[in-house]
Every structure is written in C-alpha cells, then in structure tokens.
C-alpha cells in the first residue's frame, strides 16, 4: 500500500450565509493514498466544490482535521495544485501559453530550469507547438490543457480538479480524460477531481466517493477495481464497469429521493 497523502478526519465546514453561518459539510472522512485517482460525485449544491477547496487550503475547515503529507492544511499547501473549471478566467489573458504555464515557477527556479519544466509540461498535454499563442486563440479543450500543464510544471504531488472537463463537449472531454490518465501514468501524480458525470468518475478513478445530504457528507465509497491502462471503449464495456455504475447510480438516486 502506498503512503497516505491526504488524511481527512470528520471535517465540517460552515460558510457565512444570509442568515448566519450555514453548515456545508459535516463529518467528512476519507484518505487519499499516493498515486490514487479519486473521483467525487454528487448533486450540485452537495458541497463537492467546498470539499475540494478545503483540500486546496482555500477554505478553512472548522476544525483542523485535514492533514496533507503530514502537515495540517491551513493555507494552500505546496504540492497540491488546483485546476479550475473556469479556464477562461483561470488563465491570464495577457500571457502566452508558455508564460501562463511558467507563472508558478517564476522567482522560484532558474530560467533554464523553468524553460525545461514548461516545455516538459506542455509536451505532456500535447501543446508543445502552442507555447507562444495567447489563451484566446485556443479552443476550450486546449485552454484546459494549459491549466493542467501549469499545474504539472509545479511538479505537484496532488492535482485537485474542480469539474475540469465540465465545460467541454463530449469528444473533447474523452480525449482530455485520456490525456489526464497518460499524464498521471507518466508523473505518478495523485488526482482528486469533482464531476457531475458518473461515467467520467468511474472511467478515471480508482475510487469514487458520493457526497449527499445537507450538510453534505460521504455516503458511499466504491473501489472501481478496473484494470489499467484504461480504454474509452473496452473499459466501459467491462462487466465490472457496469456493476460499479449500477451501484453508484443507485446511491445517487437514493440521495435525490
């Protein structure tokens, strides 16, 4: 078994609402091991994004119970980088693709090192030839790959992805899913991501967590036990895939009721 990267122990989060603090998450506990892919699914409003932001250190958990790599998370931990759904605003429009990718390295590593890491990251997502373009010249799928490259350039231990492919069309989505899987295989990074899409969650993950209730908590956790490498057609036709899908579908429907 790999070592534990994230230890989340009965986390609760309250955010200020119109009538005082509103509980968003309650008693959320799980662990993430190095190299794992964790998919988090749930209805909108269930607290998925808040949970991811807690992991990324952007929201304070009410009690100090999120530990990343041996340290309590109070601010964005180095080693955990977030990728946002809203690529339009997450990329700086005045910087080229390469300079967006290198943004987090500036002032931290030397120029040559930065160039090398930017080039590596861009080639991993298949954008080696677009380094000098500005983001507005890119399609949505490409822009999202730049965001992934920017995170990869930091050589993170964990990628936290907030509905990373939610704004993309089905074909682009499928190809980016495979980009993500190949990147993960190459770098050994851990990925925690949120999605609305049950199929996406199963296809990408080793484990799928279902959040439901109000305040939200983890109601179901399923190990997918699907073989790697995965294949858009073959994997989705495996009996085990359908079995997991059935299980999770039930869990989500019950949550809706």
């Amino acid at each position: 078994m790999n070592r534990i990267l994230y230890a989340v122990d009965s986390v609760g989060v309250q955010l200020p609402g119109a009538d005082g603090p509103r509980p968003i998450l309650h008693a959320v506990s799980f662990e993430v091991r190095a190299g794992e892919n964790i998919g988090i699914v749930g209805r909108s409003g269930a607290g998925k994004t808040t949970l991811l932001r807690v992991l990324g250190g952007l929201v304070d958990a009410s009690n100090e119970t999120v530990v990343f790599d041996g340290e309590v998370v109070r601010r964005p931990p180095s080693g955990a980088v977030m990728v946002f759904q809203d690529y339009g605003n997450a990329l700086l429009p005045w910087r080229t693709v390469a300079r967006n990718t290198g943004l987090g390295l500036e002032g931290r590593v030397g120029r040559d090192e930065r160039r090398r890491r930017v080039a590596d990251a861009l080639s991993m997502v298949g954008l080696s030839d677009r380094g000098s373009d500005h983001p507005w010249r890119l399609s949505g799928g490409m822009a999202q790959r730049v965001q992934i490259a920017r995170a990869l350039a930091l050589e993170p231990k964990v990628l936290l992805m907030d509905e990373p492919f939610g704004a993309l069309d089905a074909i682009t989505k499928a190809s980016l899913q495979d980009v993500l899987l190949s990147v993960q295989q190459e770098t050994g990074a851990t990925v925690v991501f949120i999605t609305h899409d049950l199929d996406e969650a199963i296809y990408l993950s080793d484990r799928v967590l279902v959040i439901s209730g109000n305040p939200g908590t983890i109601t179901v956790a399923v190990d997918t036990e699907l073989p790697r490498p995965r294949d858009q057609l073959a994997t989705r036709e495996l009996p085990r895939y359908l079995q997991v899908r059935h299980l999770l579908g039930h869990a989500l429907r019950d949550a809706d009721g």
């Binding site: 932001r53 990324g56 250190g57 952007l58 601010r75 964005p76 180095s78 955990a80 980088v81 977030m82 946002f84 809203d86 605003n89 997450a90 700086l92 429009p93 005045w94 910087r95 943004l103 987090g104 500036e106 002032g107 500005h134 983001p135 507005w136 920017r150 995170a151 930091l154 936290l160």
Partner: protein, 521 residues
C-alpha cells in the same frame, strides 16, 4: 441595513468633527467655513430666492442644450453610422471638434453672442452634441449583420429597414449618449457661467469667489453636487425605465486610431470649413476673424514672450496633476475595491463628491489651497482623481475570483500576486478612468489659471475675452483644441495598446469601450 448605515456614518462623523473642531476653536482657517456657517449661507441663498433662480437658470440651459443635442445628434449619428462614406470623411473631424475643451470656447461664444443666455446654450449644446452623435453612430454600426439578413429576407425596403431595424437597435445607445449629454451640458453650463455671467450656479460661484465669501462658495459647490447627483440618478432611472431589462450598452466613442492617410481624409471637412472661412470673412470681423488672423495673433503672442511660458506652465500643471491623480486614485481605488468594509463606509461619500461637476470645485480648491503652480497641480489632482478612483475600485471588484484563487493555489507570494495578477487585471479599468480624467483635467487646468491667478493658457484665454480680441481667442482655441485632440488620440492608442497587450481582444473590442466623458460612474 447595517451596511447602508455605515455609508452615512462616515460623512456625518466628518461633518460633526469638522463643526466640533471649529466650535472649540482648534482651528481658525477663515477660508474653510464650519458646517453651520455653510448651512447659514445656504439658507440665506434660498431665502433670498437667488438659489432657486440660479438652479433654474443653470438647469434650464443644460436641459435645453441637451434637448437640441438629442435631436441634432441623432440625425448626425444616423448619417455617420449608416453611410460609410460620411463616416470616413467625418470621423476625424468629429474627434477633433469634440475634444476641444469648453473653456477655450467661452471667449469666442462671448465675443459672438455677448454674455447672454444664448451663448451659454450654444456652448452647452456644442458639448452635448458629440456624445450623442458618437453613441448613435456606434449603436447603428453595432446592428448585427444577421438583422440585416432578416430585413432582406422579409423584403423590407431601405427606408423600412432603417425605420424598423436600425433605429430601434440604435435607441439604447442613443439614450445612453443622451444621459451623458445632460451631465456634460450641466458641467459646461457651469463653466460658461463662471467665466462670463453673474447668473446661474457658475455665476454665483464666481461672484462669491471674487467677493471672498467662503461659506457661499461652499454652499454653491454643495448645491452643484446635489444637482449633479440627482440628475445622474434620475437619468439612470429614466434610461432603465425606457429600456427595461437591457443592460445599458455603451458604444464606440473614442477616436479610432486610423492610418495617417485616412485620418487626413477625415479632417477634410474641418479644413474645407477653414478655407471657406478665410475666403469669405473680412479681416475686420469682430467675432469671426479669418484663420490667417488667428495665426497673426499667435505670432504676436509669441513675440510678446507670453505664449511659450504659458504653454509650459499649463502643460506642467496638467501633466503633474494627472500623474498625481493616477497614483492617488489608483491606490485609494485599490483599497476601496479590495475591502468590503471600506467600500461600504466610503462609497456614498465618494459617489457624492464624484457627482459634483468638477468645475464647481475649482473655486473651493483655489480658495483653500491658494494660488501658484503647486496648488494648481494639487487642485487638478484632487478633482480629476475621482473617475480614476471609481474605475479602479470597480475593476478591483470585478477581478474574477477564480483568478485570485489560481494565484494562491499555484503558490504565488503576495508581491507576485499583485505584480503579476492583480495590477495587470486592473489596467483596462484604470485606463478608462484615466481617459475620462485626462479630458476633464484640460478643463480644470485652464479654470485653475483663470481663478487661481496662474500664468498659463487659461490666463491668456480670459485676457483675450476681456480685451475683446477675437483673433487671439481663436488662436488660443486652435492651440488648446490641438492639444486636446492629441491628448485624446494618445489616450486611445494607449488604451488600445494595453488592451492588445493584455489580450482583451477576445472578450471585447476596445472600440466599443465605455464612455469618454462620463463624470461619475
């Protein structure tokens, strides 16, 4: 509710503190009256009926001017927007004419019409016309090509297309232009009154200034502010009522940088006008001397050794004042935009101050700060920093949250976050404010000369008016006009360049950026 209260606490506390200081005798600065004295002056003015007359006079001039501008401007705007040839041959001329600061036109209006109401209306109309022309033309140009396809498919004739498609589509832009026109007409009416007549709010301001009556000056300035604020709010509401649901569109009204040849072609109407003028008017004309006489007058001023020192003085005050305004407005704007507490506490006060037509503050500032170039710079900076401040604060509030979170998650330090993410995000918004400030600053710089005993171009202007020297007045108008035009051209180039550099190309074409003249937000 609590948040609304906070906004009123600050100005009330300031006024109470001010009164307390004065009552306890902790300061005794005769040019800064206490609130109580101010109120007494206000009541006296209201009792004597002066105030009502003045407000009615100024408001009447502004509204008549705006009404004329709305009709004439709509016609001109339609022509410019619909007919490409007209557009090509007039845009540069329009850009030139609209950037002439009203202050420089006052002496000519006085020499042509005499110091009467007609002169005020003419000046205010001139100033009110351009935003309407440009907005209407922008609205027409922005009609979606698909709508023309629809018109053709439905076999509408030319006239029917204009009537049923183009005009309805341009109405929102025209209304926005009209709103700005009223505000500008008010500003220009006050400026004109300050410089030529004893009537209206401007006249009252100038008279109280010459009579060294600080309480009355403050009272007039406050009334100008209330009038500006009410007019602004009322017009906003009126536009919203007229266009339910639609966010007010703003449209092209900055000079579009064009290749030199095209620009020259666009200046042809002005050139033709000048040549005609030269050929048809006599050298002895008292109010419309031919252009050659202007040049003679300019040469004369140079030979007298007054022209270049005046230009240097004015340029210095202008540039320094604007730079200070950018620094102060930028910093305070950032603070207001980034803290909800400061925002709530200060915004109502700032909205009020920003609604005061800038010119009305000149006598107040001159009185407080005294004359001399340094106080001129401070006056300009104080008055023109508002649009920059407001635009910066708005830009600060509208930075996407994701962008800030992104900078945290990839581990940028605080200075890096400001330098690489926040400040570049603010620049387009700030540039809008700077453009407004730059055109306002021309007017204020000249007024400061006139009222603060400066020795710049404003002084020469008012002297030409007093000497009834039309040639000199026109010559100075030419100089100030060219300066205003170059300044505005430079601003729009800068804005375009920063827009390109910041990659806003994709989101909005900078031609349809927000208004130039707008005084408050």
């Amino acid at each position: 509710m609590a948040s609304r209260l906070a906004g009123f606490v600050v100005p009330l506390a300031a006024v109470a503190g001010w009164q307390a200081l004065k009552s306890m005798g902790w300061y005794d600065y005769e040019y800064l009256p206490s609130p109580r004295e101010l109120l007494t002056a206000l009541v006296d003015l209201a009792r004597s009926g002066e105030l009502v007359n003045d407000v009615a006079h100024t408001l009447g001039v502004a509204l008549v001017a705006a009404a004329i501008g709305m009709v004439v401007g709509a016609a001109l705007g339609l022509a410019v927007g619909l007919i490409p040839t007209v557009r090509r041959y007039t845009m540069a001329s329009i850009d030139f004419l609209r950037t002439i600061p009203a202050v420089a036109l006052v002496p000519i209006a006085v020499l042509s019409f005499g110091p009467v109401r007609t002169a005020e209306v003419a000046l205010a109309t001139y100033a009110a016309l351009w935003p309407i022309v440009l907005h209407t033309a922008g609205g027409v140009a922005a009609v979606h090509p698909r709508q023309y396809d629809v018109a053709r498919m439905l076999r509408l004739g030319r006239v029917a297309t204009v009537r049923k498609v183009v005009i309805p589509a341009a109405v929102p832009a025209w209304l926005v232009g009209a709103r700005m026109a009223v505000i500008i007409a008010l500003l220009v009416a006050i400026v004109a009154e300050m410089m030529m007549s004893s009537r209206g709010l401007g006249g009252g301001l100038a008279e109280s200034m010459y009579a060294l009556a600080p309480a009355r000056i403050w009272a007039y300035a406050v009334v100008c502010g209330i009038l500006g604020l009410m007019l602004n709010a009322g017009l906003r509401r009126a536009v919203r009522l007229a266009l339910p649901g639609a966010p007010a569109p703003s449209s092209g009204d900055q000079p579009t940088p064009t290749p030199v040849i095209t620009a020259l072609r666009g200046l042809l109407p002005v050139a033709a006008l000048l040549i005609m003028w030269q050929l048809t008017t006599s050298v002895d004309s008292l109010s419309f001397p031919p252009p050659r006489e202007w040049l003679t007058a300019i040469v004369q001023m140079r030979d007298d050794g007054v022209l270049f020192p005046a230009i240097r003085y004015t340029l210095g005050t202008y540039a320094l004042g604007l730079v200070c305004a950018i620094v102060v407005g930028g910093i305070v704007g950032c603070a207001i935009g980034s803290s909800q507490v400061i925002d709530r506490a200060l915004t109502p006060t700032i909205d009020f101050i920003a609604a005061v037509p800038g010119a009305a503050l000149v006598p107040v500032a001159v009185l407080l700060l005294g004359s001399g170039q340094l106080s001129g710079v401070v006056t300009v900076a104080l008055i023109v920093s508002w649009p920059i401040l407001l635009n910066t604060a708005t830009a600060m509030r509208s930075i996407p949250a994701v962008r800030l979170e992104m900078s945290r998650t990839i581990g940028l330090s605080r200075p890096q976050r400001w330098g690489k993410v926040i400040v570049p995000s603010l620049i387009p918004g700030m540039m809008l404010g700077v453009r407004v400030a730059a055109s306002l600053a021309v007017i204020i710089t000249l007024l400061v000369d006139i009222f603060g005993a400066g020795t710049g171009l404003g002084r020469l202007l008012i002297e030409s008016q007093q000497r009834l020297d039309a040639s000199a007045a026109w010559g100075l108008l030419l100089i100030v006009g060219v300066f205003g035009y170059l300044m505005s051209l430079m601003m729009s180039r800068l804005e375009r360049a920063s827009g390109l550099a910041l990659g806003s190309m994709a989101t909005s074409s900078s031609r349809f950026a927000a208004p130039v003249f707008i005084i408050a937000r």
